[in-house]
C-alpha cells in the first residue's frame, strides 16, 4: 500500500476494527476511525473509555495486546512496525504524562531524535549551529526557557513545562500524524493558549491530528474538523464541533449508556 499520493483529504490515519486488551481485559472494542490529511479529529470521552490506550497502541507501547484490526499511517500498516519505526514513519505521540528521564540532557535527546529521523529519510545530521537555531526558534514560540532544555529530560519540569516540551518536540520532528493525549490536562489557561498556538502552527494540508481530550475547553483553541465520542472502547458518536459543545452541556452519561 506504499507509494500512495499524499494529498489532502485521504485517510492519513486509518484505524479499522481495532480490538485491544491488556491483561485479558478488553479495552478497545472493534474501534474504527479515519483521520484525513489536513484534518484535526478530536476524541472525547469519559475516564476509562480507552482514549489513552488508543494513543499508546498507535505509538506501539508494549504490554497492549492487539486482538484484531489494522492501523494504517499513510497506507502503511503500523501494527507491523516497532515504536521507533512508527515514529520514523511520521507518527508522534504527545504523552499525557511525559516520562522523566534522569541524566539524559534535553538537548542531547532532541539532537538524537532529530538526527534519527533525518537519517531515516536519508538526510545528513544537522550541524550544531543549525540544530541550535531550530531549537531556539521553536522554544521561543512556545515560551520555553533555554535553561529548561539543558536540564535532564522532563526532570523537575512543571506539568505545563512538560506539555510545552512535548509540543516543542512535535514542532521539531514535524510528523505526519500528531496524536495529542490530554495535552490540556494540567495546563492553566495561558499555557493552554501557548500550547494550542503551537499545535495550530503545525496544521498543514498534508498533516493529520488526533486530539484526545476529556474537556471541550482545548477545542476552543484547537478547532477540530470532526469530533468523535468514545465510550467503552468504541466510537459511539461522530459529528462536527457542535458535538463537543453538546457534551460540555450534557456530559457523557447518554453515550456511556448507549455503549453498554
Amino acid at each position: 500500500m506504499t507509494g500512495r499520493a499524499r494529498t489532502e483529504g485521504h485517510g492519513m490515519l486509518e484505524i479499522k476494527n481495532l480490538s485491544v486488551s491488556i491483561e485479558d481485559k478488553l479495552i478497545l472494542d472493534n474501534l474504527s476511525l479515519t483521520v484525513n490529511a489536513g484534518e484535526v479529529a478530536a476524541i472525547m470521552g469519559p475516564n476509562g473509555s480507552g482514549k489513552s490506550t488508543l494513543a499508546y497502541v498507535l505509538a506501539g507501547k508494549p504490554a497492549y495486546e492487539v486482538q484484531s484490526g489494522e492501523i494504517f499511517l499513510d497506507g502503511e500498516n503500523l501494527l507491523e512496525l516497532k515504536p521507533t519505526e512508527r515514529a520514523l514513519k511520521g507518527l508522534f505521540l504527545a504523552f499525557q504524562y511525559p516520562t522523566e528521564i534522569p541524566g539524559v540532557g534535553g538537548m542531547t535527546f532532541l539532537k538524537a531524535a532529530l538526527n534519527a529521523q533525518r537519517r531515516a529519510r536519508g538526510e545528513s545530521d544537522l550541524t550544531t549551529p543549525d540544530f541550535m537555531r531550530r531549537v531556539r526558534e521553536a522554544a521561543q514560540a512556545l515560551k520555553i526557557d533555554q535553561e529548561m532544555l539543558r536540564r535532564p529530560l522532563n526532570v523537575g519540569f512543571s506539568g505545563g513545562e512538560k506539555k510545552r516540551f512535548e509540543v516543542l518536540q512535535m514542532a521539531l520532528l514535524a510528523p505526519q500524524v500528531g496524536v495529542l493525549d490530554e495535552t490540556d490536562s494540567g495546563l492553566d489557561i495561558d499555557a493552554l493558549r501557548i500550547v494550542a498556538e503551537g499545535v495550530n502552527a503545525l496544521r498543514d494540508p498534508k498533516r493529520a491530528f488526533l486530539v484526545i481530550t476529556h474537556y471541550q475547553r482545548l477545542l476552543d483553541y484547537i478547532k477540530p474538523n470532526v469530533v468523535h465520542v468514545m465510550a467503552k472502547g468504541r466510537i459511539v458518536a461522530t459529528g462536527g464541533p457542535e458535538l463537543a459543545l453538546e457534551l460540555e452541556r450534557n456530559g457523557y452519561r447518554d453515550y456511556a449508556e448507549e455503549a453498554a
Partner: protein, 423 residues
C-alpha cells in the same frame, strides 16, 4: 603455627613459602608482623563479614609465583608499549613495572612533588589482604606533595606488569599531601592477563586543608585484582576518590577511610561495568572520628550476562563526630536475567547530632524510559545506550574535574560500544 582450624589451602601454603624465601633474603620485623596477621586469618571466606560475597579462599586456588624485578628487556618492552599507548590525560606520567618505579620511562615530576623508595607504613587495618600486601610487596614508594604546593595537572601512575604467563605482582604506594597542598592522581592498571594476580595498595594521607582527587582505572584483564586503599584526612582536608572497573575476572577494591580532623570532606564514587563472568566487589568503610565532617559515597554498577557485582559500605560515626553529614548511595542496573548485584549499605552511629542516610537500588532499565525515547524515533539500542550512558555519567560527573572525567566518559562509551548495546 596458627589458631584457625581450617586446613591450610594450597594457595596459603605457597604464600607462606614465598614469604619465608623473602625473609631469608631480607628479613624485616615489620613485614614478619604483617605476614603473621595474614596467616592468623588466612585467605578470607564467606564467613568473614567483609568478604561475604567474595570467597577468595575458594576462588584463589593457587598463589602464582611473584614477578621478579624488571630486567632491561622488560623495561624496553614497556617502553615500546608506551610509545604506542594512549595516555589518560595531559599531566606527567610515572611508570611502575611490577611494583617498581622506573624513572627512565617516567616524566619529570612537577615542582613541589617528590618520589622516594622505602617501606610504606599504614595505620593498622583489620584485613588479611591488606596485611598480605604489606608482607609481600617488594618495596614501597612515597610520592609527596610539599606543603602549600598546588599541582595543576593530574599525575598519572601507570602500573604495568610483566611478560610471564602466570605471576603475582604486589605494589605499595603512599601519596602524601602536606598542609594546604593540592594534587590529583590517576592510578591506571594495565597489561594484565588472566594469569595475573595483582595486589595493590595505596595509602593516601591529607594534612590540614590539603585537597586531593584520586582516580583508579582497572580496565585490563587480570585473573585477580585486589586493591586496598587507605585514606586518612586531617582537619579541613578534602578528598574526591573514584574507581572505574571495566575488566578483570575477580576485582576486589577495598577502601578504608578515616576522617581524623574536623571539617574535612570526603567524596567516594565508582562505576563498575561488568559483563561475562566477571565479579567486581567494592567494599568500603568510612570512619568519622572528628566533628563537623561530611562524607559522600555514590557508587553505580551496570551488570550484564552472568556477572556479579558487590557493594558493601559501612559508615561509622564515632561519638566525638557530632554534626557529621553522611550520605551513601549505591545503585545498579542489571541488563540480563542472570546478572547479580549484592548491596549492603550500613550505618553505625554513636553520636547523637548527625545527619546520615543510605540507600541502595537494583533495577533493570525502565521500559517507560525506553519507550519514550523510541517513540521519538530513537532506535531501541541507541535508547538503551543513552540511558546507560546517563546512568554512568551521573557517577563520573561527581569528580568535578573535566580532565579526569572525560577519559572516564570515553571508557564508558567504549564499553557500551563493545557491548553492542548500540546496534
Amino acid at each position: 603455627m596458627n589458631a584457625h582450624v581450617i586446613k591450610q589451602s594450597t594457595a596459603e601454603r605457597t604464600l607462606a613459602q614465598q614469604f619465608a624465601e623473602r625473609e631469608q633474603r631480607e628479613p624485616s620485623p615489620v613485614r614478619a608482623a604483617a605476614f603473621a596477621r595474614f596467616a592468623a586469618a588466612g585467605l578470607p571466606t564467606r564467613r568473614v563479614e567483609a568478604w561475604h560475597y567474595t570467597d577468595l579462599r575458594a576462588s584463589m586456588s593457587e598463589a602464582a609465583p611473584i614477578l621478579a624485578a624488571p630486567k632491561q628487556d622488560d623495561i624496553e618492552a614497556a617502553r615500546s608499549r608506551l610509545s604506542g599507548g594512549e595516555r589518560f590525560g595531559a599531566g606527567p606520567q610515572l611508570v611502575f613495572l611490577g611494583g617498581r618505579f622506573i624513572a627512565k620511562l617516567s616524566d619529570p615530576l612537577p615542582a613541589g612533588v617528590s618520589i622516594a623508595e622505602g617501606s610504606v607504613a599504614a595505620r593498622p587495618i583489620d584485613d588479611p589482604l591488606a596485611a598480605l600486601n604489606e608482607a609481600l610487596s617488594p618495596t614501597g614508594w612515597t610520592i609527596s606533595v610539599a606543603q602549600g604546593f598546588k599541582v595543576t595537572e593530574p599525575i598519572t601512575l601507570l602500573h604495568l606488569g610483566g611478560a610471564a604467563s602466570s605471576y603475582s605482582v604486589y605494589s605499595r604506594m603512599a601519596l602524601a599531601l602536606g598542609a594546604g597542598a593540592q594534587a590529583s592522581f590517576v592510578e591506571i592498571f594495565e597489561g594484565a592477563h588472566a594469569g595475573v594476580q595483582r595486589h595493590a595498595s595505596t595509602i593516601l594521607t591529607l594534612a590540614d586543608s590539603a585537597i586531593a582527587k584520586h582516580v583508579v582505572v582497572v580496565g585490563d584483564e587480570p585473573g585477580l585484582h585486589v586493591e586496598t586503599q587507605i585514606f586518612e584526612l586531617a582537619k579541613s582536608a578534602e578528598l574526591t576518590a573514584f574507581g572505574l572497573v571495566s575488566g578483570g575476572k575477580l576485582t576486589r577494591r577495598q577502601i578504608f577511610v578515616r576522617i581524623a580532623g574536623d571539617r574535612a570532606k570526603v567524596s567516594l564514587g565508582g562505576l563498575a561495568l561488568i559483563e561475562g563472568v566477571r565479579r567486581a566487589d567494592t567494599t568500603l568503610q568510612v570512619v568519622h572520628t572528628a566533628p563537623a565532617c561530611a562524607s559522600r559515597e555514590f557508587y553505580r554498577a551496570i551488570v550484564d550476562d552472568d556477572a556479579v557485582g558487590v557493594f558493601q559500605g559501612k559508615v561509622i560515626v564515632e561519638q566525638a563526630a557530632q554534626k557529621t553529614d553522611g550520605s551513601m548511595k549505591s545503585q545498579a542496573i542489571l541488563l540480563s536475567p542472570r546478572a547479580q548485584m549484592n548491596e549492603k549499605p550500613e550505618l553505625e552511629i554513636f553520636a547523637d547530632d548527625v545527619v546520615c542516610g543510605h540507600g541502595a537500588t537494583v533495577a533493570s532499565l525502565d521500559p517507560e524510559h525506553i519507550f519514550y525515547l523510541e517513540s521519538r524515533g530513537i532506535a531501541n539500542g541507541d535508547a538503551k545506550a543513552m540511558l546507560l550512558e546517563a546512568f554512568g555519567e551521573e557517577s563520573i560527573a561527581r569528580i568535578e574535574d573535566k580532565s579526569l572525567a572525560d577519559p572516564l566518559r570515553a571508557r564508558l562509551a567504549a564499553w557500551l560500544d563493545a557491548r553492542k548495546v548500540r546496534p
